[in-house]
Subunit: 419 residues, 2 copies
Amino acid sequence: MSANSVNIHASMNPSELDAADALGAYRRQFVIPEGVIYLDGNSLGPASYAALAALETAAKEEWAQGMIRSWNSAGWFNLPVSVGDKIAPIVGAEMGQVVACDTITVNLYKLLHAALALNPGRRKIVAEASSFPTDLYVAQGVTATLPDVTLALAEDGKAELTSLIDAETAVVLVNHVDYRTGALRNMQALTQQAQAAGALVIWDLSHSAGALDVALDACGVDFAVGCTYKYLNAGPGAPAFVYAAKRHHAHIKQPLTGWWGHARPFAFETGYDRADGVRAFLTGTQPVLSFRALSGALDIWEDVDLSQVRRKSLQLTQYFIERVKTECAAHDLVCITPEAPEQRGSQVSFQFEHAYEAIQALIDRGVIGDFRAPNVMRFGFTPLYLGFTDVAHAVAVLKEVLDTQAWKDPKYSIRTTVT
Amino acid sequence: MSANSVNIHASMNPSELDAADALGAYRRQFVIPEGVIYLDGNSLGPASYAALAALETAAKEEWAQGMIRSWNSAGWFNLPVSVGDKIAPIVGAEMGQVVACDTITVNLYKLLHAALALNPGRRKIVAEASSFPTDLYVAQGVTATLPDVTLALAEDGKAELTSLIDAETAVVLVNHVDYRTGALRNMQALTQQAQAAGALVIWDLSHSAGALDVALDACGVDFAVGCTYKYLNAGPGAPAFVYAAKRHHAHIKQPLTGWWGHARPFAFETGYDRADGVRAFLTGTQPVLSFRALSGALDIWEDVDLSQVRRKSLQLTQYFIERVKTECAAHDLVCITPEAPEQRGSQVSFQFEHAYEAIQALIDRGVIGDFRAPNVMRFGFTPLYLGFTDVAHAVAVLKEVLDTQAWKDPKYSIRTTVT
């Protein structure tokens, strides 16, 4: 796909583009506060009415009235599996290969161990230094636990990830979309290359699940983790998910063995006996209230056409890039997001010397993006609740902030813990 | 403390006991459905109005309106620490030694590794076969990860836990209150005995935190985990917690190293650098909605006198035991809960051949207890929302179920997944 095939140009009329938008009707399913253009759905998606309603039912009816009985009657115990089955089609997986549980950090720990156990003759983990840091920290945790395992990191300007994959490589851990630049990896090519070298691959889908048409089964992926509180809009810190290809199910061996991953959890047996299938990745009792918000949020996706999402996502990001180039040409912005559509996720990042202050000034004006150290302004584009008019307005506000140097106001340089 | 010192007898008038109850006013802070006597707070505590309100604020205001900004403005990122500081006084710990996070299973995995790392010359974990099974499964997961580590289990009728603690023992993992029998361990004596033998101790407080006056600091405990969805009433699957004595903080080494446990999480550094203090046990992004319900639920505890809780708990359990003995004497019930108050937690368990069916019949009549395989009827007594009239009524219903053999109705023998 060339940039041109996206067929969007800065000069196009945003209202006309919105009028022709097949996904425009989804917006009314979300709570978008008055005066806000939300370009941070890649960090925390907005609330949907479906998620809020499911959460309220879970709290006021299932918990408060049903009490302990809701473990059965409301399907609480099965949530990791039932929610996993809702996520599966969004990431291109047949049912029965996804469970929702725990956090990405904890799930990666399980998957790295599982991959190492499947590839016992090899002891090297290959990853990228540009990965979201928790991926690296957990890989370091695995090497600290298993002293014979090493971690080889591809660093920008030093080594390509693929050049590190060799006969010692047990598993390659890779981010589908780079959280900082928005660059998209070719899942099929990299999976094939790693597997051809005898390695397994774990994909981190944090910045791609719900943003584009992920095709885990079609690409022959071994394992994946993903986040539900970004493009899947499931609420702050919502549970993560694990994908394990069916061909590996008979051989799953992961060290966080807990009662929810037992074949007979309510027999209360003394010895661990792994549950069949992807349930073997479950650990302890999961946070039901957060799960029910997640479950509600996923109902919106049931009839969403992911190829339409991908098409509109590329249109929105391209429209943003081109309008910024046109309208903010006087300022030193460097786009670090690939402009070739096939190499781009659903976010756009600009380096700017005063990125932190500029983002605060934008947020103050209702345009919510975020800052990533050291100098990146990051904007996420989410087809279900954003339109082209939003993009045009966001660029106009950015232009104003830059033209007037509004970011110089001292109040925008106050650093808070989290951005 | 002798049984008599509890000073409760079957013949006492329940209304008079309720009238004299110093904790009686707390009941109105909880949602107890009409017609329900809830004797399952040891499995899932009821909703409080405070928890429901905090959850609603988190969902509709913080998430839906504040969106990404609430990570700062609503204190989301600090929840594991701020909630940990609310739990600390409930378990007899000075501030700064408790964080709320993840599940008990995952936290035990961290703690077992941390204890083994602190005691590198020893490679044996000692635990009890009667522990809640997930504790054993996770210990087995640790031995599977670290092949030189062994697990020695004390089994009923074979070996006492203390007899297994020897010069090879790195860590002793013990349940403060037995989930099946309700037996309470002597925390101070066992901690001293293990430490005198050079071992560390991890206490699982799942069935004691919020039920009695736990004294972690005073007993010199090394580590503990606990549950918040039982006696702390924080909602289904609410996050667990970790206690680590301050003297160990400088040496914490646990393998689930994630970005929330990093010294500078928002610097997005490539290398892991452990956060100071008990925050080193944090892993990935936590489920905020479940956390906010937990945080709200804990507000109730701020002015609760735990010695009053313990006193009333012993009165409620003793009243129940004595009235069952008196009123249900014609039936083959065997009390497996210690009758000596100092050996009893806050639940009472009876063996009965038709325990499963009898519990279903009780639930059908509004008296909610639970069943634990193979033949145990389990009843939890929670001083903040139960009174003596409730106990008397529950016993009357139990008597009716047994006298009329109501449990023989075939509908009560249908087995569901979860009990």
